[in-house]
């Protein structure tokens, strides 16, 4: 009976008031996105090019190639307008909302990148926009709060729970349940009820479509592996989807290992966000998927040094691909991620988002057999938003490759 499933995952677990809106969205997704009715897809591609700056480059990374003794290519989503892959999806959904005749946009955000992308797309297309963001994340990612406001969006801090992405999603669902007749909820990743996981994947799959063509042109072959960080999984699904049928290409989803991979059941905290690696099947935010939960099924608080990965769930399709053995989940802890941040900054002149730094950091742990001789790493976003956090997080630990951070501390106070 249930629709929109990937193996045992997916579905539509939402309050009844939202079900008609999901039916309406499913219909719009099929007509406009899948069948290109009224030229939706053409307009989307054109706007991604002219407003977004697509295609993004596939850059050969010379220092990393030497370091790992393989051809390493970086898919530069950090060069997309707004500084992260998130614009692909936000622009797609805001445009779709417009085609559907909706009048208002709501969104949630963790790192602020999705909120920023949505605020930009909404301003670009002339739609009013409200973004919910956990209180803690508004503090961790202040530059993005400013950017959203500058684009005319209302940023509403969420005080429940730990004040991160999980709470922001719940709060946005509450808003949507009240305003569903006129409002579209631009969900920020391949999570939530059907048709969101499939639709967001489709909007993001431009990453791997481009990368697949670019790597064949550059290297004359398909890569041996693709590496991308996974929070909700939109950058991962975007970077993987065109490669999924290519059985010879290994796909690595890098999750936030945080401080530890163990769940502290006593305190209801998972000091990580590794739901693919350590989670179990359950139902959260509209979908059946892999979750960080306690034995009773209460959702536990997640943790990551990067707010964009700090979420207790993950997209249902990614969960399914992991069960099928097509995608390998791996983890990188907070310390290694901070180190990865400094490495890419120094070795390639690219300051990555802390989310992306997880993917970069995993190259250190990967075996030559895992990586093979030709690797594509998705640089999901740039690190400008994280500079304050990096100063703080670097000072907290012994990071062998970091510059002297005291110099910066004075500047930011």
């Amino acid at each position: 009976m249930s629709s929109g499933t990937f193996g045992r995952y997916g579905g539509q677990y939402v309050p009844e008031a939202l079900m008609p809106a999901l039916e309406e969205l499913e219909d719009a997704y099929e007509r406009y996105v899948l069948d290109n009715e009224d030229g939706f897809v053409d307009e989307f591609r054109e706007r991604l090019r002219d407003f977004g700056g697509r295609p993004t480059p596939l850059q050969p990374a010379e220092q990393l190639s030497a370091r790992y003794d393989a051809e390493v290519y970086l898919k530069r989503e950090d060069l997309l307008h707004g500084g992260a892959h998130k614009l692909n999806n936000a622009l797609g959904q805001v445009l779709l909302a417009k085609y559907m005749g909706k009048e208002r946009i709501v969104a949630e955000t963790g790192a602020g990148q999705h909120g920023t992308a949505t605020a930009m797309a909404a301003a670009h297309l002339g739609m009013p926009c409200e973004v919910y963001m956990g209180r803690r994340d508004t503090n961790r990612q202040r530059p993005n709060v400013f950017r959203m406001r500058l684009n005319g969006a209302t940023v509403t801090p969420v005080d429940t729970g730990r004040g991160t992405l999980k709470e922001a999603i719940s709060e946005t669902m509450r808003d949507w349940a009240t305003t569903v007749e006129t409002t579209h909820y631009v969900i920020g990743s391949v999570v939530g009820p059907h048709p969101f996981p499939a639709m967001v994947r489709d909007f993001q799959s431009v990453i791997s479509e481009e990368a697949r063509g670019q790597v064949r042109e550059r290297a004359g072959r398909l890569p041996s592996s693709v590496v991308a960080c996974a929070g909700g999984g939109s950058n991962t699904m975007g970077a993987f989807s065109a490669f999924v049928p290519d059985e010879g290409v290994s796909l690595f989803a890098v999750e936030a290992g945080g401080a530890s991979l163990r769940v502290d059941e006593e305190r209801g905290v998972a000091p990580n966000s590794a739901s693919l690696s350590t989670g179990s099947e359950g139902v959260l935010h509209g979908a059946r998927t892999k979750l960080l939960q306690d034995a009773d099924g209460q959702i536990v608080e997640s943790h990551s040094v990067s707010s964009g990965l700090d979420y207790a769930g993950v997209g249902p399709e990614l969960a399914h691909l992991v069960d099928e053995g097509r995608v390998a989940p791996v983890t990188v802890d907070d310390d290694a991620a901070v180190e990865g941040f400094h490495r890419l900054s120094q070795e390639e002149g690219i300051i990555p988002a802390l989310e992306t730094a997880h993917a970069i950091a995993w190259l250190e742990d990967a075996t030559p057999e895992q990586l093979g001789d030709c690797v594509v790493v998705c640089v999901s976003g740039r690190g400008d938003k994280d500079l304050e956090s990096v100063v703080e997080e670097t000072a907290k630990r012994d990071v062998p490759n970091a510059p002297d951070m005291d110099v910066f501390r004075g500047d930011t106070r």
Binding site: Q12, Y13, V14, E16, A17, R174, H285, D296
Partner: protein, 296 residues
Amino acid sequence: MSRIPEAFADGPAFVPYLAAGDPDFESSLEYVESLARGGADLIELGLPFSEPIAEGPTIQGAVVRALEGGMTPERFFEFVEALDVDVPLVCMTYYNLIYQYGRRASRGDAERAGGGAASGAVGEPGPEPFVRRAAEVGVDGFVVPDLPAEEADPLREACDEYDRDLVFVVAPTTRGERLERIMERVSGYVYVQARLGVTGARADVSDQTAASLDRLSAWDVPKAVGFGISSGENAREVVTAGADGVIVGSALVDIVAEGVETGAPVEETAARLEAKARELKEGALAGEDVTGSERT
């Protein structure tokens, strides 16, 4: 057998909601029992879930207090067993707790007699063990706000196996085929959501209520209206509009919350709850006096 039909057998039913264990096990027992003394015909008991996406700030607050007070699915069943009330009980919770209980219960219970047709391998999540345990302690039915009809068949089957009712919500936005899908699966009563949005007490009663009741007029299951009802006057209006029952949550939870904030003695809060229950029940009855003759 479910006792839910008794609640609607004579006149409009008053259906209060409280979160079990808010703010702690013992006081919460007092509070729920005081609702029964005040005239509750059926009680919806919330089993708190950490992500209550259908609830507004009032019930969110109750959920946080109850979780902090140590409420768990197993404690919830102990709560129901400890409760001294003589009305039907409906468990209101979110699907993940129902679904996960299977994984947990099947570990120890696998060899216990009558594992149940719906239960999978040891460690498999699924709704049957939860329903079995709920039936054992005397829960008559379930409301699961994040489980639409499309996803509800496994739970519906488990409810059939143990003669329990499964209540669905009909929202102001529900129309056409969706109504039919719900009608095929609902039993006990249908929860008519009075307005769009999340739970929370309001001063007025939405005129969406009458339109929603109209759409359901042919259904032969009692219609109970909830979302935003806060006074006897509201209750009267809702029954006048054709409801068979009145569901009230946030207005009661507000009283518990005030008690917690002011540090009031449990007896005092319980007395206020009983008085509020009486007001709501009387409001519902007053609604019936107007319409009683034309009701079927």
